[in-house]
Symmetry: C2
Subunit: 513 residues, 2 copies
């Protein structure tokens, strides 16, 4: 166990709640307390003995508290190696006492950042003395116990009780790990904020941070352990019914919400399976948008995730209930709708009306290396460049823009067929663009052949050869949008003209891997 008796503690906590949990136990084991500023006052007011840091060091607190504990008598008391004879002599000579327990709660920088305090104000919430204390103690965990989170008070109490006022090696090492996780996290929050302020998008040294939200039953597969972490703020998903969300649930939910979040007020539905949309529609009302999204690929929709950007009505609940979906996401549920849907035990119902999806970077991991990039936050809104002889109707233009914007959310190579503002065939995740064309047209021919007339196609990247165009036009597609920019553009445009269809260039590429 390698127990270390605790004789002296330093307490410097920004959040002074719950000291009542630890003070009696420190007293019981006759642990001397050194403290400063507000923590000192609080402990004294609770009628516990406490030595003020300045009395101990002989150096009064200064600069409105900016410098309190940064003193060699404190840090040498923490950092000395107890079994080192020279260290022991050093300490004795200068009348420095061992500090065996360090309890620190840092200034709440992140909380103040979330409260959107002003720059100058935030600077004051960068703790200097606290991290120094924590790091000294965490480094010297072989002799010292560090508590860096007030939530760990009960664990400390148990540890001291179990070991008659001492702490075990395992406990000290565990708390040291927690301490360095905290100081890393704390500075990562500051660093990401300052880099944003200083407009440094890709700093030489980059840290990404997250708070553990929940441990999942397992990861992407049962033999992998997995957890969910939150970065800036929370996703703000309110689960109203159903079992615990899984790794793949979260992945699919995010895919669905990213799409539905890209639409404005029109009633819209997105159905996702394996992180790819298999039906998307923006229609006049909730029910018709759902039906249009569903008929795009009713087979794949089975067991999928459905997101609608409105409050689910009773009528809609009855329709939803006819098919097995794993998750329904909406901006709320009418009471009677909830009653109907809750009858299914295996369904998960989530209200996402307070959704928080904002973020500044996207990361793709290649083992321990990673690619960092801007999120793809462009949607096609500008005037289209028409490169074909045939010009599109106003309805076709709307439809082309809709289809192209859906491409952004489909794994590459992506081909999206749309009629008005509903998908009628989605080809995803193929190494060849021609194959994605085939998949998309086969879907449309299988499930909604009557909708192919007056339909359009969108491609996430340019067509390298005319074969894809031929595949689409032979199936009856009348207008095609793509980024343009291939060395074969002339041949591609010619193929569109030969087929008598519209071709538009978007000037944007939407690869997603």
């Amino acid at each position: 166990m390698n127990l270390k008796k605790i004789q002296r503690a330093i307490i410097s906590v920004s959040d002074k709640t719950n000291l009542k949990i630890i003070l009696p136990i420190l007293k019981k084991y006759k642990i001397e307390i050194i403290s400063s500023g507000g923590s000192f006052k609080k402990i004294k007011s609770m009628n516990y003995n406490c030595i003020e840091v300045s009395d101990y060091t002989g150096f009064a607190e200064m600069l409105d508290g900016r410098v309190k504990t940064l003193h060699p008598k404190i840090h040498a008391g923490i950092l000395n190696i107890r079994k080192n004879y020279k260290h022991k002599k050093d300490l004795k000579k200068r009348n420095i006492k061992n500090i065996d327990l360090v309890i620190v709660d840092l200034y709440p920088f992140e909380k103040k950042l979330e409260e959107k305090k002003k720059f100058q104000n935030l600077i004051e919430y960068i703790d200097i003395g606290g991290p120094a204390l924590i790091r000294s103690a965490a480094k010297n965990f072989n002799d010292v116990t560090v508590i860096s989170n007030i939530a760990d008070y009960p664990q400390l109490v148990t540890e001291l009780k179990n070991n008659n006022g001492a702490a075990s090696f395992k406990f000290r090492k565990f708390m040291s790990s927690k301490a360095f996780s905290l100081t890393a996290y704390y500075d990562s929050v500051i660093s990401n904020w300052l880099n944003l302020e200083a407009q440094i998008k890709f700093p030489d040294k980059k840290t990404i941070h997250g708070k553990l939200k929940e441990n999942l039953r397992y990861g992407e597969n049962p033999h992998q352990q997995g957890s969910l972490y939150m970065g800036e703020g929370n996703l703000e998903l309110k689960k109203l019914h159903g079992k615990k969300l899984s790794f793949n649930n979260y992945n699919d939910i995010y895919a669905a919400l990213e799409i539905i979040n890209s639409f404005n007020k029109n009633p819209s539905t997105v159905i996702v399976k394996h992180a790819n949309p298999c039906g998307v529609s923006c229609e006049k009302n909730q029910l018709s948008s759902f039906q249009c999204a569903l008929e795009c690929d009713p087979l794949s929709a089975f067991g999928g995730v459905v997101a609608v950007n409105s409050v689910v009505t009773k009528k809609m609940a009855i329709e939803l209930n006819k098919i097995f979906f794993e998750i329904i996401l909406s901006k709320g549920f009418k009471k009677d709708a909830l009653r109907i849907l809750k009858k299914r035990k295996n369904i998960i119902l989530i209200d996402y009306s307070k959704l928080n999806l904002s973020y500044k970077n996207h990361y793709q991991f290649l083992g321990s290396a990673f690619l960092a990039q801007d999120p793809n936050d462009i949607l096609l809104n500008r005037k289209l460049k028409i490169v074909s002889k045939k010009k599109p109707s106003a309805k076709q233009i709307t439809s082309l823009k809709f289809a192209f914007n859906i491409c952004k959310f489909v794994k590459s190579n992506a081909i999206v067929l749309a009629n008005n503002k509903s998908t009628i065939g989605i080809g995803s995740g193929q190494p060849s663009r021609l194959d994605s064309c085939k998949i998309a047209t086969n879907k449309a021919l299988e499930f909604v052949p009557e909708k192919i007339k007056n339909s359009v196609a969108a491609s996430d990247a340019f067509f390298p050869f005319p074969d894809g165009i031929e595949q689409l036009t032979e199936a009856g597609i009348e207008a095609i949008i793509q980024p343009g920019g291939s060395i074969n553009d002339k041949r591609i445009i010619k193929a569109a003209n030969n087929a008598g269809v519209v071709m538009a260039f978007a000037g944007i590429r939407h690869f997603k891997h």
Copy 2:
């Protein structure tokens, strides 16, 4: 500009090289230097004036240097707000002087970690005083300049020269951002190491870190900026020929290397397009493995990434040159092979023989939130569970294992058809398993119909319905492997028995999204 004249600097550097860059300029502008330990000795040995920290603070360095600069006279000199009258009075009263420039180089913890030093030894490389100095100065960047990287010395010299011994607000803020990026990174390295040691897989506060390796031309799409970061170590790719690698190149290269890295010594080839394999083969020699991988989908292979786990010979180079590939990865190239391949300007040649792909976690980002999980590092090696009446031949068993292991690397839903140890059809990225079956069988029927006899199929997850089985067996597949575990397993096995084919359960799932 808000220039701040620098009167006094503290220098505490672990790496003492290149001090000659800054010392003359500090002298020129009559900047007083305070220093300690080795830095002090080095500066004196270079014949520059310097005050020892202990002389300044009146507190001798102690604990073998564990406590040197952690003194209120130092930190108050850095942290005081220059325009604050009370702070000024505080300083004067205690005879503390302003420190306007902090130059620190931290103990090289990460370097020692990479050198695999022992635990106790590594602890000694955790810098305590250095981060405290850096953080004090970075917090007070409104008055103080911090240099936290010796590579920034030339920038400091330019800044001082341009401003006659002063530093601008912009420079101070920029250096402050860099400083917090460094302290966050430094503690993230320590924290991840300690968490691993303490077996904390998912800590409450998690940080992920990387070093900027290169700024890329753009991200996944031209309207996104992108960069590559390295985590533990480096990928160790040696580019021998061709243009700069792009975001998507790196993504594809990683996909290809993950697969090829999963094979043992047999000569193998992997062809990747849009992060999905479109041909994989392990055969008797380099050339035949390449040919088998290529014929699986020669259309998709166009412009793809090829990885081979051997040294490219002249014969192979001639074959490779017949098709347009964007990237060739190998364990080296014979001289004459290199000469042949280099004739193409648009080809990128990479030697990956020192590849470093080890990592402990996989991260999937959902905006600023992220899913953390174990990497999927299981390959199927154990005895198969045969659930069909028909039993597999030894050759089929080898082929079933090969196909199932390839599934791991194909985006879900994944279906992989294989003949011996070569893929003959890959269905990827579909919301429905049936569609992946169709894609895979259509590929085989189109490109290698003669190889379908004696072939097998693997599915990354269980079949929910018998339709997929029917699709595969109708195309001529003779053995199927899948994880098993559906409530419809009985019906699935019956379908296999009805078709007279082998069915094996792997007991492992290989979702990849």
